[in-house]
Symmetry: C2
Subunit: 146 residues, 2 copies
DNA sequence: CTGCATCCGACTCGATACTG
DNA sequence: CAGTATCGAGTCGGATGCAG
């Protein structure tokens, strides 16, 4: 860490949000930040989204979330399980069968996540269009943007 | 967490398809996935949230998003700017003054993001309670979990 | 003030191999 | 099937220094 960014912000500037939540993700020491990272992480968000429609087994999840490795999927699930967003149910049969489901808090979070994902997908057209513009301008004039 | 969540977007990102095929984040090749990662990334989400209430200058943003370094903040802003979610406005005065604002698409996404963050913060009590339970059970039982 | 370049440690990922 | 252990490689992120 650096000395320059260590707790420089005072409680004098929070312009936004005057609600009653004791948790503030903007603070680096707030326990909600790691939780948010589990939820919004590269794979966490996709895993939660994939669990929206009922129990899913490990390898099904792996197929559904295209590109994730076993190791990382296991890590992701552990984190979400420990946060109480995901429930792991293991059947003592053979072949081994483990089903993952969303807990009630997990459903709440996943619902919001789904809305976000939907919003992002809905924005994709404008994003892609903007990027083309942005890239060509950057290639030509450099800092000469709108 | 590192991964490539916070990686800077560049022209080597998966190329887009111009047809009207629906975007599916679950697909590894879908262009919406990197965009979602910019938005939900460790810092991207906090930056978008911090920009909700109007223009913010670089260093203000840095103070607001506690713990982020200049380099990473700049990277994050570049990615979001290229996606068309954030607008960078530089005033040619001295001292140099740069203001970042949300574009309309950025506002839509940030709104959903805020809801998600609020939901996560609202879940924190149950999360922390659950974790205590989870950890003691794991400690008693067998191998410790992450 | 803003922010790019570079160096470098720390961390994460993914592939493989192995256990229950 | 459902993971865990290990290892190499790649990346990220922080600090510093410099430029506009």
């Amino acid at each position: 860490m650096s000395g320059s960014i260590g707790r420089v912000a005072d409680k004098s500037d929070p312009v936004y949000k005057a609600d009653d939540t004791p948790f503030d993700v903007f603070s680096r020491t707030c326990p909600s930040r790691p939780v948010l990272e589990h939820v919004t992480g590269r794979w966490g968000s996709l895993v939660l989204a994939a669990l929206q429609n009922g129990p899913v087994r490990f390898n099904d999840l792996r197929r559904r979330v295209d590109g994730v490795s076993q190791k990382v999927l296991a890590q992701t699930l552990h984190a979400l399980e420990r946060d109480g967003f995901v429930n792991r149910h293991q059947l003592s049969v053979f072949p081994l069968r483990v089903e993952y489901t969303l807990t009630p808090p997990g459903q709440d979070v996943a619902a919001k996540l789904l809305e976000l994902i939907t919003q992002v997908e809905a924005s994709m057209d404008s994003v892609l269009a903007f990027r083309q513009d942005y890239d060509s301008n950057a290639a030509a004039g450099h800092t000469a943007r709108a």
